[in-house]
Symmetry: C2
Subunit: 267 residues, 2 copies
């Protein structure tokens, strides 16, 4: 499949100086598009990158009509130039995108997934928290902690011991009938599905210590591409079992989240 290329001196390559989005397309139409645009613009503003126009962003998916599910990846970099870390006086940001076919894992929706806790602790950097920037080595290192396919994801805490997210998904938990998700003002990525669920007043940001995650009533991982995965088993980084959760008849998170994505709720 043809794809765009960037030169050696692009600052996205040189420094991770840019942001990206991963957008679910259903029959050629983007899902949660407004949330993706808002996060991308927020990221550009935080990094002081001149943002692409709404029309240029929409052009990334308006090209060819398709049927079924795809994932659209969009990258915006500050472009080339500058002297070292100093940005160019007049920067010309690059907007690039690519679409690939996608098949959601519906068995994870109904049967749930097994996850482990990562050893790596995320650093706290409020200047970069929340946005989907291109500095993702912590996620890459965390994802290298396991190869076994029986773990579908790894949970990440920050270096104060607070739960943040999974390597590529947001985290949600239920306690006393309330559904909560970690506050992400120190690190982590504010997922677009997470934002939509907070807007829908289904979910409340809160803090959860990694030592208390095994005690919650329910645990889920979710993002705007994969949908909602109930967690059915939690393991330590050393491979010891920490907790199992049953599969209740009704899933209140999927019931709200999956219609937002065009996915069926499994219960």
């Amino acid at each position: 499949m043809s794809q765009p290329w960037v030169p050696f001196d692009d600052r996205g390559l040189a420094y991770g100086d840019g942001v990206f989005e991963t957008v679910l397309l259903h029959d050629g139409q983007p899902v949660l598009w407004q949330q993706h645009v808002e996060r991308l613009l927020e990221g550009c503003q935080r990094l002081m990158i001149d943002p692409p126009s709404p029309a240029a962003l929409s052009a990334t998916w308006q090209a060819a009509p398709t049927v079924g599910w795809e994932v659209l990846k969009i990258i915006v970099t500050r472009g080339s130039g500058g002297r070292g870390y100093a940005i160019p006086d007049v920067a010309a940001p690059r907007l690039m995108s690519r679409r690939v076919p996608f098949q959601p894992d519906s068995s994870a929706w109904s049967q749930g997934v097994s996850v482990r806790i990562c050893s790596l602790r995320l650093a706290r950097q409020p200047r970069l928290a929340g946005i989907k920037h291109l500095n993702r080595l912590e996620n890459v290192l965390a994802r290298q902690e396991w190869q076994a396919t029986d773990y579908r994801e790894g949970l990440l805490a920050d270096n104060h011991g607070l739960v943040v997210e999974a390597t590529s998904m947001n985290l949600f938990w239920e306690q006393n009938g309330c559904i909560m998700t970690p506050t992400l003002d120190q690190c982590g990525v504010e997922g677009t599905l997470r934002a939509a669920l907070i807007d829908a007043q289904l979910v409340t940001p809160a803090q959860l210590a990694i030592d208390e995650v095994a005690a919650v009533d329910r645990l889920w991982l979710a993002n705007s591409v994969q949908g909602v995965w109930p967690v059915n088993a939690l393991w330590t980084a050393e491979g010891a079992p920490l907790r199992r959760w049953g599969a209740p008849r009704h899933d209140p998170l999927q019931a709200v989240a999956h219609p937002l994505l065009g996915y069926p709720a499994t219960s």
Copy 2:
């Protein structure tokens, strides 16, 4: 000038999944080459990237004979592929390089420079500390804090208030006749000149609170490309003067460092 390009799915662009080096060339010969190779290999090992061969690395400067100073930039990325943050089963790392002419700033050697303290505080991530990886948004954001050319650099502390480095140089200070440089086990880049000066037993790693930096007997910034810049004035992030230092006849750091780089010591 022609330069290499990387595809959209290169992990260096996607995640900053790689390392780089910036090497001074003198008449076509690399300066502190062994230190650059060692740091690059250490970076690859920490990120679990299959390292380039010594012959491939040397080929980046063995091509064309030149006269004078150049800067050689080398980038190694993990290459393309993988599923999201998960690395590919068989990765094919990319090695790229580019040479550009360079002129060191000899007036900064003799007259010293004016620097400011940055507002941004570096996050502490021991898994990434020391290596010259491609996740450099903190440096980019810090460098955006000022435009005035009368500040040549900005000092960075970590979020515990300890001095780490400048945005693109290491920091050295003298107190009671000893020359020290910040320990870099939590964040920061271990410069190759810094490594050579520690090996030469001229410099000792130590801790220094940002609140105490104005009280040191001397302060320098240095790296393997620019050489050693004595700091002659220090300013707060808000632009208030903190300290001025005189220009003593003998500079003990330049006296050892500049011969290592092929630069003259100014005293």
